[in-house]
Assembly symmetry: C3
Homo-oligomer: 156 residues x 3
């Protein structure tokens, strides 16, 4: 069986739309970090960032100290790095395994919805258990895609 990576293939189309949404999330999170650093004029990580410059016209001591408002966005970014590249690769292999469309839709959209809920829970500092629940759902959706693909690859 040869699966085509064409947007005419509804399984690949579903993956592509979800992958593009997750890529936007991955690419925009650093801009949230930038916006937070600019807003509080601090939370910088590099010694040279505390020098006087057009973006930092009034340097002050402490600009290099960790600030939780900024660090939270960095932790969210690191969490994305642990999940989104894995989804992009696992999803592509999953598509190539030729799953039924409804299975692909359920697993892929469960992943996207759980990551969106995780983002809101993280950004608003909800209780750990709420964030952990959404993270777990997203991880189990990914593991299900990998598991299905392993089954298909080994049953050839």
């Amino acid at each position: 069986m040869l699966v085509t990576l064409s947007f005419d293939n509804p399984v690949f189309w579903t993956y592509a739309v979800a992958a593009l949404i997750m890529l936007l999330k991955l690419l925009l999170q650093p801009w949230m970090t930038v916006a937070r650093m600019m807003k509080i004029k601090g939370g910088f990580r590099n010694p040279e960032d505390a020098k006087k410059s057009p973006a930092n016209p009034d340097p002050r001591p402490g600009q290099l100290e960790p600030n939780d408002y900024v660090e939270r966005s960095r932790r969210m970014n690191l969490n994305d790095l642990e999940s989104i590249p894995a989804f992009l690769a696992a999803g592509l292999l999953f598509v190539l395994a030729g799953p039924p469309l409804v299975l692909a839709q359920v697993l892929i959209w469960t992943y996207v919805a759980a990551r969106a809920a995780h983002f809101v829970a993280y950004a608003t500092a909800q209780l750990h258990d709420i964030r952990a629940l959404f993270w777990s759902i997203s991880s189990l959706a990914l593991l299900s895609m990998v598991g299905y693909t392993i089954f298909r690859v080994l049953s050839l």
Copy 2:
């Protein structure tokens, strides 16, 4: 030459099996971090994680302080992030370059075996030089895949 991304293609099949194993590793490492945090009831990173909740029924001071048992798993995860997404992408391009099957098998399985040995050396805190040896082997296997692919792409 058109290489098909079909599991019937033995080079792609080899890559797919290795990629799925490495995806499982990438996805399960955060669960090891979770298990270690639950075991020692600490090593949390977010202020809200030290609040009372069903998963943290008896909050105590110090739960937010770094703990090496937990941080080790986080460092292993970060090390995975520096290597596994690169393998997933480099391996796919390498497959599309149409390498001989035996070359693909040697480089891909060397990578997987070296990462497995690196995991054991890291988890059990072996002497730096042992961990570094396995890390270097895995990195050289990846660089060989990239080098072969560059050669094929430029010699078209």
Copy 3:
């Protein structure tokens, strides 16, 4: 429309060459960290790395303390992780959307050139605003690839 992932396809060829260059960058940055750790005999992260070994024949106190010469390379690596895997995945989906060759060349080489300039600015600790400019250009090139692909996927 079916786009073939063949090096005969000039859009895919452009992506592949750029992806291989960026993979080399991603894979060589940790070696820069290793070289810097070896040079200053410090900046290690794991407790066991301060033990006596062939690579560390004369252990001394402070080898586990953060050192900015080493940490800078680690920050550059983390910055790569936030950008290069996203490029590898976004670029592949962009190729599959069948963009005009000239658009692909402009966006892909803008990304590569901006990352190269960002690397130089980061390694030599240029003023924040210079590094931020190159980072922003690379991020906007990626977002443009994603934006174009979303447009094509949704207009089918």
